[in-house]
């Protein structure tokens, strides 16, 4: 039977602050999963640590709530060992752009088929409101003792520079728009990042729902076509996407910035080296036969032949 939206919910109490922007992400996720009819048992949500990191417990698909900043490498191992699984990463801005920035960059250059959902609230929620890497310089959300002295990073530009083949931004209050982005990202083959603007009602008294309401606009409404249809278009589209991403905070663009399906994924490349990889991936390969290794002595002797020295017949 086709799963309904309710089938994607667990009975775990969602303990985010009332009004938290994460609720929107969760709602959009339920909808996207249901509309894509993703099999819960073949789907894995991997998360880091933070308010955002709790999300796997609320969704009735496999959940791996990993450590801070490492959701991407956890997800990478899962996906590579079993490419049959749909793997979705959720992380905070501290998680993915602070401590985990190196992995984000590395995922981009691998173009592994994983969707990364960045809960961008510009603060460290779960540790009580410190500045995150997306908080602009000189601002002082309420928990900071002094205004922020570090500059903010532009997640869209970073993702593009790193090689992500799907880069988008959503806003948690625009649920259906976000849901569509999620669906597109999950359906995209390759590394996808969605920067989700997510008000933190408890600690971020600057980037509030009102703040975004006044600024957010949809790039598709202004005619932006993010799709790379041919490798030769890549550079031009990317530069244009970068340009859009650099608009200052007066107007905040949301939508799909860049989408390139012309690049092979890491799985494709592995499959070229290991022809049975996608059919019989590592996770399900047989390694023993009645408790004995499938690598019998015969096979062992053959594959490692170069290491054997047969004794000289006789002097």
């Amino acid at each position: 039977m086709a799963p309904s939206l309710a089938d994607y919910k667990t009975d775990v109490w969602v303990d985010w602050c009332p009004g938290c922007g994460d609720f929107g992400i969760l709602a959009a996720m339920y909808k996207a999963l249901a509309e894509l009819q993703l099999k819960p048992e073949k789907t894995v949500i991997v998360s880091g640590i933070g308010c955002s990191g709790k999300i796997p417990h609320f969704v009735r698909v496999n959940g791996v709530h990993a450590i801070h900043g490492r959701a991407i490498p956890f997800a990478m191992g899962i996906k590579l060992a079993n490419p049959d699984l749909t793997v979705i990463v959720n992380g905070g801005d501290g998680d993915l752009l602070g401590i985990g920035a190196g992995h984000l960059v590395a995922l981009g250059r691998r173009n592994l088929d994983i969707t990364v959902i960045l809960h961008d609230n510009r603060v460290y929620g779960l540790t009580k409101g410190q500045a995150s890497p997306t908080l602009e310089k000189n601002l002082r959300p309420k928990a900071l003792p002094k205004p922020n002295i570090q500059d903010s990073i532009n997640p869209i530009a970073l993702a593009l520079a790193s090689g992500f083949t799907f880069v988008a931004r959503g806003y948690t209050m625009m649920l259906d728009h976000l849901k569509e982005l999620l669906k597109a990202a999950i359906s995209h083959r390759g590394a996808a990042l969605i920067d989700v603007l997510q008000p933190c009602v408890t600690y971020n008294d600057i980037h509030t729902a009102e703040y975004y309401r006044e600024r957010v606009y949809r790039i598709e409404d202004e005619g932006w076509d993010p799709v790379v249809r041919n490798p030769v278009e890549r550079q031009e589209k990317m530069l244009e996407a970068l340009k859009i991403s650099m608009e200052d905070e007066v107007r905040i663009p949301i939508g799909i910035f860049y989408q390139d399906s012309t690049k092979d994924t890491l799985e494709d490349r592995i499959a070229r080296r290991l022809p049975s990889y996608l059919i019989n991936p590592p996770a399900v390969q047989k390694i023993e036969d009645d408790g004995r290794p499938i690598l019998t002595w015969e096979i062992f002797r053959k594959i490692f032949a170069a290491h054997f020295v047969e004794s000289e017949p006789s002097l």
Binding site: G63, G77, N82, S276, P282, W297
Partner: protein
């Protein structure tokens, strides 16, 4: 090369053959030293000699001094190295300077006569400390510091056969015969040295050809050039010198020997053990293992793929272990492989694996620390770290292998134990083993078993991954059809976060008690081996690659009338307390000595911590060079003479 057989027969008659030999081949890093060693090992193995060789090198790619210390035996598969050596094959002057003090009187030096005028303090690649020591030594011998004066001295005073060959000239002459371009010619210095050694040892023509052919398989031109050069030099040596070190024909009768480094043999074990995901970040001395696995990533049989292994070079070690954990969650046997600096970075994720009962294997090759330390030198200084790494408490298994054969089986066993007890397993090896190449009888696969524990690969619906009915819960893997949750937070049976104190106590205790279960179930004999008799006067206790030196030392000590035994610890966690106590209690408490490659005598600390047994005496070495059985023998004698702690330092 018919001359060979004739010549050998003569020498055997003259009775100057040896049942074993130790030698050093040295030269600048990047000049082909490994080729010499490989050719030598293959030809020795071809003749059924047991071989062991260690490679010492700087953290440098080209130019610094590197050497192979090799021992070959016609009676046994040798287990350790010893000094002095009977032969030095020197590619450059630095080698002679560095090693001449380790040469047995009456031994052989093969060297390049074209650099005879080099003086010891004009060689930039040599470290100042060594140069200043050598200047003193040479000064005391009344020598002027030149290579020439040194070899003359050795020949005169130590009865050393000094085989000076003008490498450059030889090569130019031979190169012209095969029209080899000048820039390529220098590559053949390694061939010259090999040929000279082979000649001195009296290796057969056919074994030499076999070695050349298998080393350069498929590259016909290179094979023929090598044959020419090697044959020529061989004849030259045979014609000019009378060798004092001919090897007696081997008594061993293996139909074949396997030539492998420690890295190779662990890789083989992992592949046999069903490894399907290996992540790594390059680091000495671990990276070669992953290289080996990547070269064997696809295994086909009868035209079909029977195994494909994903080998991924990650962006760092954190990603390496994290992705291995991810892979293990899907049911794939997953491992990563590193050394100290990398392991230090893996510590946080290790705790997640402990908390989530994930069977991953970390192959951990120790090198000299702390920090970058001595990246290419050996050590066993990470035992207490490996045992306690990561915040919080969770069980882990730590296995350490004493030799190549143990390493092969342990690499497989690591996966079995990891899956059986659902906990991370650290396979603790070291640089010594990693870079030691042996010619050994191949392992038997007869008794190898793959045990997957409570793996559940087909299921459905939401499942309690952390059910607490048994100590070891059912392991529903991602993709099995079950829906499961995992978190590094304390959790309930479903894997959902749970901070309740009673749940905490229950889950915490269950995890910890798995360790007690492993302790009960893992047979003692897999964890500890005892060698020697209960009547021994001295009990050596060691772990890891100390084994070979210890076993050889107890034999050598016996010849000197000292009865020694050796207790080898193979599984450090769960520590085999009962058997350990059982063994130790048979001995006088003062007669036990730990032998280790570290400063603190970490095993003694561990033993005291776990068993309460106080081993007061220790023989330690932390220069980064292996423990030689020869120095271990004298170390034991010093302890018997009353010293409490002996620090070994032999080896340049």
């Amino acid at each position: 090369m018919r001359w060979l057989a004739r010549n050998l027969q003569q020498r055997i008659r003259r009775g100057i053959m040896r049942s074993e030999i130790c030698l050093i081949v040295g030269g600048p890093q990047g000049a082909g030293l490994e080729t010499t060693a490989q050719l030598l090992t293959i030809s020795l193995a071809r003749l059924r000699y047991g071989v062991i060789s260690d490679r010492e090198y700087f953290s440098n790619i080209v130019g610094r001094h590197s050497y192979i210390h090799l021992r070959a035996s016609s009676r046994e598969i040798p287990r350790s190295l010893r000094y002095p050596v009977q032969l030095i094959g020197a590619m450059d002057a630095e080698t002679v300077f560095t090693h001449f003090q380790d040469l047995e009187p009456g031994g052989i030096i093969v060297y390049d006569s074209s650099v005879e005028n080099k003086v010891v303090d004009s060689i930039p690649s040599m470290e100042r400390d060594l140069v200043s020591r050598l200047k003193r030594v040479l000064g005391e011998l009344g020598l002027d510091g030149s290579l020439k004066s040194l070899v003359n001295y050795l020949s005169r005073e130590e009865n050393v056969v000094v085989a000076g060959l003008n490498y450059a000239e030889l090569i130019t002459r031979l190169a012209s015969r095969v029209s080899l371009p000048a820039q390529q010619a220098s590559r053949y210095v390694s061939a010259i040295v090999y040929a000279a050694i082979a000649a001195f040892l009296g290796l057969s023509e056919s074994s030499i050809n076999y070695a050349i052919e298998s080393r350069f398989r498929g590259r016909e031109q290179i094979i023929s050039i090598n044959k020419l050069i090697i044959g020529e030099v061989y004849r030259l040596i045979r014609g000019r010198y009378r060798s004092p070190v001919i090897l007696a024909p081997s008594n061993l009768n293996h139909p074949e020997l396997m030539v492998v480094s420690g890295n190779d043999v662990v890789a083989m074990g992992k592949i046999v053990g069903g490894l399907r995901y290996q992540s790594y970040y390059p680091i000495t001395p671990a990276a070669d293992e992953s290289f080996f696995i990547e070269a064997n990533e696809r295994i086909t049989w009868d035209g079909s793929d029977i195994a494909s292994i994903v080998v991924l070079q990650t962006e760092d070690e954190i990603a390496a272990i994290s992705s291995a954990i991810g892979a293990a969650l899907t049911g794939a046997r997953a491992a990563t492989c590193t050394s100290g600096p990398g392991f230090s970075l893996m510590v946080e994720a290790l705790g997640w694996a402990g908390m989530n009962e994930v069977p991953i294997v970390i192959t951990y090759y120790q090198r000299g620390g702390p920090s970058t330390g001595q990246p290419t030198r050996g050590s066993q200084s990470d035992l207490l770290f490996a045992l306690h790494a990561s915040h919080g408490e969770f069980p882990r298994i730590v296995i350490s292998s004493g030799d190549h054969l143990e390493a092969f089986y342990d690499a497989i066993e690591a996966f079995n134990l990891a899956e059986r007890y659902q906990m991370p397993v650290i396979h603790l090896l070291d640089k010594f083993l990693a870079n030691t190449i042996v010619a050994m009888p191949p392992p038997s696969l007869e008794n190898v078993r793959i045990e997957r524990g409570k793996l559940i690969s087909e299921s459905s619906g939401e499942r309690k991954r952390f059910e607490s009915a048994d100590l070891v819960p059912p392991r529903y893997v991602l993709g099995s059809g079950a829906i499961t949750w995992h978190t590094g937070d304390e959790h309930d049976e479903w894997g959902h976060i749970d901070e309740d104190p009673e749940n905490r106590e229950r889950m915490y205790r269950r995890r910890m008690e798995k360790m007690a279960l492993a302790d009960q179930e893992i047979p003692d004999e897999k964890r500890l081996s005892f060698y020697g008799g209960n009547d021994a006067d001295v009990l050596l206790i060691g772990w890891g690659s100390v084994k070979g030196a210890a076993l050889d030392a107890i034999e050598d000590l016996r010849e000197d009338g000292i009865k020694a035994a050796y207790m080898h610890l193979r599984i450090l966690s769960p520590f085999p307390t009962r058997l350990f106590r059982g063994v130790v209690e048979k001995f006088d408490p003062g007669s036990a000595i730990v032998v280790e490659h570290n400063y603190m005598a970490q095993l003694a600390l561990l033993v005291r911590m776990i068993t309460g047994v106080n081993i007061e005496r220790s023989i330690v070495k932390y220069t980064g060079r292996p423990i030689y059985s020869s120095e271990l023998v004298s170390g034991v004698k010093r302890i018997l003479a009353g010293e409490g702690r002996v620090v070994l330092t032999h080896g340049p």
